[in-house]
Symmetry: C2
Subunit: 474 residues, 2 copies
C-alpha cells in the first residue's frame, strides 16, 4: 500500500475530480426502473447539473435525449468522472478503460465485492490495484453515490420520486446509502446540504480523505459522519484533530459492542477497535460523538443555523415542569448548568406571575391563569434571552389541535431573530402532528432548529457547547 | 403519617372512587377559555361520560346545559369524585365540605402548593391533614387530571381542540401533565389507553397506590410511568416486585444526575436517591427502565400489540446494510443476538439472490437487481419469520415519495398477522413524511407497532425480551 500513502497528499485535489466534475460518464444499462443508469441521468438533470453527461452502453443509441456512446474511448472530449453500474465482473475492465482515457475519478455503484464473498474480495483487490497503478481514484464500490448541491452533481442511482435538495453548509459522509437523498426529504426538513457521500466499501477514498477535502471546502461548515470502521486509525485521529476545532465533526460510529464490531468486520474486512479506546481517542481529537442514527439528521442543524453559546448556562422556558427536570439531567451530561436569572429579570418575571422568575421558567401556571397570556409571552421570552446569566435556551412549546398560537410563536421568533447571539433549541408538541409540522417548518425557515424530543434538544445545545470549547482550546 | 399507612391496604378500593366515579362535582369557575371547569365538563361530555356531572359555583346558574349548584352541600345525591379548580387558598375549605358530604375522592387540579413556596407547602400540609382525618383521598395538587377510557371519565382541564382517545390496555401514570390527552394524539398514534393519571405533587395518592390499583385493573396490561421522585422507596420496590412479572412496568425516572435530583427535590420536596442504587434496585425488582421521554409513547406499543419473544434470537430484514450493524450494537445491550438462519431458510433465500440467506437479510441488492422483486418480498419475509432460529424480527422498510409499495407492505403484514407468535418491530423511512405516516398508520391498525428510529425499534424488542425473562423467573 506504499503507492497509496504516497498519493495521500494529493487527496484533496483528487476529490475535486469527483465533486467538481465538469463531465460525467454514466456506464450501465438504461432500462426504466427505480435503480440504474437512467436514474443517475435523471437525478443529474433534475438537480440542474450543467456539465456534460455521457451515457455509455454498446446496445443503446439514445437515452433521455442524450447520445449513448459504445465505450468511454468513443468520447472525444475529456471526461472527469465515471459512474460505473455494470456487472461486478466487468468492473475491472471498464475501470482500466476509464484510466486509459485519462479519467481521475470513478464511482463504483455496483455491489458484490468484499461485502459479498471471496470472489468479490478478489475483484475489489483488483480494482484497488488498478487505482494504485493508474492514479484513478475510486469511491465505493457498493455506494449510493455522491452529491454536490453547489453544481447540481447529484449522482443518485435510486429514484425515490423526490428531487429536492436544499443547499446549505452540512456535509454528510457515510459508509451507507441511508443518508443519501433517496432516504430523507432534506429539503422539507429545512436541512441545508453542501455535499453528500456514501463511500460504501471505502476500498480507496475513505473517511480521512473526505474530511481533508471538506476541511478546505468553502461550502461546508459542519461535517456529519456515519462510520462502521476506520481505515487507518492514526491518520483518522490526525485529521480529526486538525479539522475538529475548525468545523464540527459529528460522528456516529457503529460496531460499539463486540457483537456489532464482529458484524462490521465481516462486512468490510476492517479491524474492530475497543469502543472505550476509540471514544477516548475521539474525545481527545475533538470529534463530537452522536448517540443515535436520527442524530445524523438533527444535530447538524444546531451548527448550521445557530450561533455557538458563549458559556454553559442554559435557560429553559417550559409549559410543563416535568420536562424541566429531564432537561437538567440531560444538560448535566454535557456540562450545561441551569443558573439563576439575574435579579432584574427575576423581578420583572415575578411581576408577571408569582415564581415565574425561576429556571425552568414555567409558563404553565400563568398560561392557565392570565387571560391575555399570549400578549405577555414575547415579553417573557425576551427577558430570558436578554439575561446576562443565560448563554443558550431550551424552549418548549405546546400547540393545540387547531394551531391557535402558531402565528404568535412565529412572530416571537421573528422578533428576536437577529437580536441575540445565543443558540436556541426548540421542542414542539401537541395533539395535531400537522400543526406541529407546520410550526416546525415556519421556525426552521427562520433558521431556528426544532428537535424531536427534549433530550435531543438539550444534546444539540450540549454539542454546541463542546464545539465552542474546542474552538477555544488553543 | 401512621393514619396513612393504616389506610394503605384500602388504596385499591380508594382509587376506584376516582376511576369508576359514577358522579363528579366540578368545582371552579366556568368562564370560556382553554383551561378550567368548562373544559373539564366539555372533556367529560366529549368522552361520552354517562355519570352525573354537578357543576359547583355560587355565581353561575347554568353551564353547558347543566344546572350549577352553589356548593356541594346543595346537591342532594351522593357524589363520588370532586374536581377542585378554585383559588389555592380556598382549597382546604372546599375539601372539607367534600369530605363532609361523604365524598371519597378529590382531584386538586390547581397549583400553587408545595411546588411554589412556603405558603403553598403549608396549604399542602393542610389538605393532607384533612385527607388523613376524613378519609377522602387526593390526587394532586398541581395535576392535569385522570382518564378512564372504559367509562368516558376524561377529567382534562386543558382544551387542546382534540377529543379522541383510543381505548386500549396501556396505563400511563406520570408526575406531570405532559402525558395527558392534551399533549399527544394517542388516537392517531394508534396508541390504546386504559387509564391516564397525572398525580402532580402526589401529596396523597402516589405511584405505588396507582400500581396497586392497576395491578388488579382488568383493562390494563402495560404500565408506563414517569417519575421525578419516589414517595416511599421500600413500598415502591415491594409493589414493583409483585406487579412487574405480571404486567410490564415501563419506567422513566428523571433526577438521574445530581443536578436533576436537586431540581426535582426542590420541586416536590422528596429525597434524592443515587441513580446507580435506584437502577440496581429497579433491575432487581423488575422495572423496565426507559431512556428518553419519547419512549413513553413508543415502548408500550410493543407490549400492547405484539406477542413476547420466546428467546433472544433476532432476525433482521433490511434494505440497508449500514443500519444492520447499528441494530446488532443496540441488540447486544439487551442480550438480543443475531443468530444464523437454519440451513433450509438460507438455501431458499440464497436461491432468490446470492447471500440473501445471511442475517441481516439485506434486501437492498436483490431489490435493485430483480425486476419482479416486490412479488418475491412476501416469500422472503415469510421464510425469515418461519425460521426456527428466529424469535423476533426487526424489519426495516423504505417507501418512496409516491408510496408505490404501501399496499404491498400492508398486504404482507396482513398475511402473516396471525401466523406467527413472534414480535415484529418495524422502522419506516423515506423521502415523503406523509407516505411514511400513511403506511405507519396502516401497519399500526393491524397492530404492528412502528418505531421512530432503528435503535428505538431494537430497544422495544429488547424490553419485550426482558419482560419475557421476568415472567419466567419464578
Amino acid at each position: 500500500m506504499t503507492t497509496r500513502s504516497a498519493r495521500q497528499s494529493h487527496s484533496r485535489n483528487d476529490l475535486r475530480s469527483f465533486f467538481d466534475a465538469r463531465s460525467v460518464a454514466v456506464i450501465g444499462t438504461f432500462r426504466e426502473g427505480w435503480f440504474g443508469g437512467s436514474v443517475v441521468i435523471k437525478s443529474l438533470m433534475n438537480a440542474g447539473y450543467k456539465g456534460q453527461i455521457y451515457p455509455i452502453n454498446p446496445t443503446y443509441k439514445e437515452v433521455q435525449g442524450l447520445r449513448v456512446y459504445p465505450a468511454v474511448s468513443d468520447v472525444k472530449e475529456m471526461i472527469d468522472l465515471a459512474i460505473i453500474m455494470i456487472n461486478t465482473q466487468t468492473v475491472p475492465q471498464v475501470l482500466r478503460e476509464c484510466a486509459e482515457k485519462g479519467m481521475k475519478a470513478a464511482i463504483v455503484v455496483v455491489d458484490g465485492f468484499a461485502e459479498r464473498d471471496q470472489v468479490g474480495l478478489l475483484l475489489q483487490r483488483e480494482i484497488v490495484d488498478i487505482a494504485e497503478r493508474t492514479g484513478i481514484r475510486i469511491i465505493g464500490p457498493n455506494t449510493a453515490g455522491i452529491v454536490n448541491t453547489a453544481n447540481g452533481l447529484n449522482i443518485s442511482p435510486y429514484d425515490a420520486g423526490y428531487y429536492k435538495l436544499k443547499e446549505g453548509s452540512v456535509a454528510i459522509c457515510a459508509q451507507t446509502g441511508m443518508t443519501n437523498p433517496q432516504a430523507f426529504p432534506y429539503h422539507d426538513f429545512q436541512f441545508g446540504v453542501s455535499k453528500i457521500c456514501d463511500f460504501g466499501n471505502n476500498c480507496d477514498v475513505d473517511e480521512s480523505d473526505l474530511m481533508e477535502y471538506l476541511e478546505e471546502d468553502p461550502k461546508t461548515s459542519v461535517i456529519s459522519m456515519y462510520l462502521e470502521s476506520i481505515t487507518n486509525g492514526r491518520r483518522f485521529l490526525e485529521v480529526v484533530s486538525r479539522v475538529a476545532p475548525r468545523k464540527p465533526i459529528l460522528l456516529l460510529k457503529s460496531g460499539k459492542t463486540q457483537e456489532g464490531a464482529r458484524a462490521s468486520a465481516s462486512h468490510t474486512g476492517s479491524l474492530a477497535v475497543d469502543d472505550h479506546i476509540f471514544q477516548a481517542a475521539c474525545n481527545q481529537a475533538g470529534a463530537l460523538r452522536l448517540e443515535r442514527f436520527n442524530d445524523l439528521f438533527e444535530m447538524p442543524k444546531m451548527f448550521a443555523y445557530q450561533p455557538l453559546p458563549e458559556g454553559n448556562r442554559m435557560g429553559i422556558i417550559t409549559i410543563t415542569g416535568g420536562v424541566g427536570v429531564l432537561s437538567i439531567d440531560e444538560g448535566a451530561k454535557y456540562g450545561l448548568v441551569v443558573s439563576k436569572l439575574s435579579p432584574r429579570t427575576r423581578d420583572s418575571l415575578n411581576d408577571i406571575f408569582p415564581n415565574l422568575g425561576e429556571i425552568p421558567v414555567d409558563i404553565g401556571p400563568p398560561a392557565a391563569a392570565i387571560k391575555d397570556f399570549p400578549s405577555r409571552y414575547p415579553e417573557i421570552f425576551n427577558a430570558v434571552m436578554a439575561d446576562e446569566n443565560v448563554d443558550c435556551l431550551f424552549n418548549i412549546i405546546w400547540v393545540d389541535h387547531v394551531g391557535r398560537s402558531v402565528e404568535e410563536y412565529e412572530t416571537v421568533y421573528k422578533l428576536i431573530r437577529d437580536k441575540y447571539r445565543k443558540p436556541i433549541a426548540t421542542w414542539l408538541y401537541g395533539p395535531n402532528p400537522c400543526v406541529v409540522a407546520e410550526l416546525r417548518q415556519r421556525m426552521e425557515e427562520l433558521n431556528f432548529p426544532v428537535f424531536s424530543g427534549p433530550e435531543t434538544s438539550i444534546r444539540a445545545l450540549g454539542m454546541a457547547l463542546r464545539f465552542r470549547n474546542l474552538t477555544q482550546r488553543n
